[in-house]
Symmetry: D2
């Protein structure tokens, strides 16, 4: 059974900036904040770190940044979904602009994720791509203009609305994440006001002077928004 997410939720995606101890430290703090503010947080980690982090945390939804469609058996060096599940992983990003996958492979990986109860967060670079992917029933979609990733510049609220609408018109069951260039509580509010189910960040958090304070202030803004509704 896949984890049920309560909107608005939040994604902490340290990409490859953090690993090992440093990743664990941030995860422990994020876990406390998840409990304190009663917000579902997806936390991405290196494959090698998932077990440690899932063992040490209670609330975080441990998330990988990709996975393969490999089935138990032959195959050297690919990511076996079953190994993730046993390590406490509950969600995975797929088809990120930094890790695009083939059409047939995406279909296969999503089938495996469904079999194993892994939430899928599938990325699209353009509205055309988002519409096509939405037909495959991902749990969560991100539609980010590739140019903005990692720039600390967020999408315009118009672009966010347009992509939220495109995904939902095509498939109303999908939750929409807006996370391009989120680097302040104001960006969090903007993303949620666009109608997104979730937001989150990478460099906006990791690169902040005090990452944990920044994460907390973003979550407070998310909670404020949730209460106003």
């Amino acid at each position: 059974m896949k984890k049920q997410l309560r909107s608005p939720f939040f994604v902490v995606n340290p990409k490859a900036y953090l690993y090992g101890e440093k990743s664990l430290e941030l995860a422990l703090e994020a876990d406390k904040l998840s409990e304190k503010y009663d917000v579902d947080i997806l936390f991405t980690a290196q494959y090698a770190d998932c077990y440690r982090i899932s063992q040490a945390t209670k609330k975080l939804i441990i998330t990988t940044q990709h996975m393969d469609s490999l089935v138990p058996g032959r195959g050297m060096g690919y990511i076996l979904p079953e190994s993730l599940v046993e390590s406490g992983v509950q969600a995975t990003f797929l088809n990120h602009a930094e890790h695009p996958v083939k059409v047939n492979e995406l279909v296969e990986i999503m089938k495996r994720a469904d079999e194993l109860g892994i939430l899928t967060i599938v990325c699209a670079d353009s509205i055309a791509e988002a519409k096509a992917i939405s037909i495959l029933n991902p749990d969560i979609m991100i539609c980010e203009p590739t140019e903005l990733i990692g720039t600390g510049q967020s999408s315009s609220i118009d672009y966010m609305r347009q992509t939220n609408d495109a995904v939902r018109e095509s498939n109303p069951n999908i939750k929409v994440l807006q996370a391009a260039g989120i680097s302040s509580p104001e960006d969090v509010r903007k993303a949620l006001e666009s109608g997104a189910d979730a937001t989150g960040g990478t460099s906006g958090i990791i690169g902040a002077e005090n990452p944990i304070e920044m994460l907390e202030s973003m979550l407070i803004e998310l909670v404020n928004y949730r209460e106003e509704k």
Copy 2:
């Protein structure tokens, strides 16, 4: 500093046949056998399982089946070498026939492995490929006729001698592993008699009626061979 391997050594490579608890169980037994027979054993695991296994074992050389050249920073879903080192990984396979890599990528990954003290076990499909790769100074090489992988049929001793010689003529510092279709103690002896520094197996061990007994009988044969020399 890279781990120094004592020849003859052994490789247990469960590929994606085992993961989680099952992988850990075999690792624990292999670890005991490594101590009992004083043989260096490289044990390959899913990325997600390396930390658990390295924490639970004392002697095994934890080995991944591939790694990427990613450096800390951006990059979604690739294998960060630093995350492996922090999880206790000391060696990695590269360029296996089931996971071939680009020429420039192989150079980059091997550079990263050298920086981080990770042993490299690089595979080649043909003698021409083996000679080219040997120039890049891998720690260990495997030259396996692609057709034999996973068949339970071992290379002929002539082919083994030919590939051992090709690698060593080109670069005498490289240790040579012969592991295609090793499924009995006799295959272990044949591989070592060909002049290889190491041997090991996948389906020959995992697919045996009693994998641990098979592994032990292979190690006993390796020890017999070692003592005869």
Copy 3:
């Protein structure tokens, strides 16, 4: 402006079985048959052969078996769509099971094809994939069970109907091609009776004792079917 195709049409796809003179010979015969039976025929060729064949034929719709999204400028060794257009190419296969492409790349290539007036014939391995791709507005779709390709065994009429329906429900503008394992005039009739707009073959034609006679008898069956309607 893209070429307007009249259903039922036919595809002769020699893959890499033919090239140079041999490909040209079959193309010349197919061109005569296209005129004789007034049937639109898409003829696939190696990139290097397209110019020769387009210069020597009058009716054939010269088709490539893939193309890249490369734009004029840098880029070594990829297929520049503009070079195809100048060589007389009017259509291209994309995402064949023997040449799968990434999701974002497929979107880009189809955009380039639309800009340049090249018909797109996009392949899918499964119904899920076919539905997703149909959202991208290809001109023609093929949904073939990967297992049947090159076997000389055609899809069941039920599978054909199911895939025809899946594509058309999702996007009624797309023409549907059923071409898996077509190796006789009976297979041609079966494909058209399933409701497909087109059919065609590779090994069923090239591997026939007399390829040109086989092609003609397939076209005669197509014409019979067309006249019965």
Copy 4:
């Protein structure tokens, strides 16, 4: 039988900047200059343009920018080497930084090129890569610092000497091409004085105010150098 090249020779590599008529026009001029100055010129073209150009020229060595290891038979959309030979192609670039290939694939492609008498011009990004590739016996090698490609800035003469020496020490039969950022007759002289067998250009020629004049002045400098020796 492979074409025998006479050093110093020259490479005109329009990448994807030119195609169709424009590519043919430059080829015709280059062909005249090849005859006038008695210099072997390799001219790269889009796959689709090779036949036209080889038919229209007498001296040029028609060169592709990549080719695949595909053999006649199945396989959709890859570059069949036999189709290139029948179109007049006599040489191919391989493993360019803009088109890197896998280790095992490079070995296969080079085997096919040797079978079919196609000259191989293999690229390396670093000295380590160049040494490894030199073991595979390419006919010509290029070792270019990836950062300089397309910048109009040439390698330092020290870097050129170092790479020339690295390749020749490893395999004295290989001809060495220095072509990074060549944009003037002075750059041509510098490359040849470094000890290279050949030089050539892309943007330095195509982007010149008058490409044909630039090409001629580069060839004149090459001839001057040849005569001084």
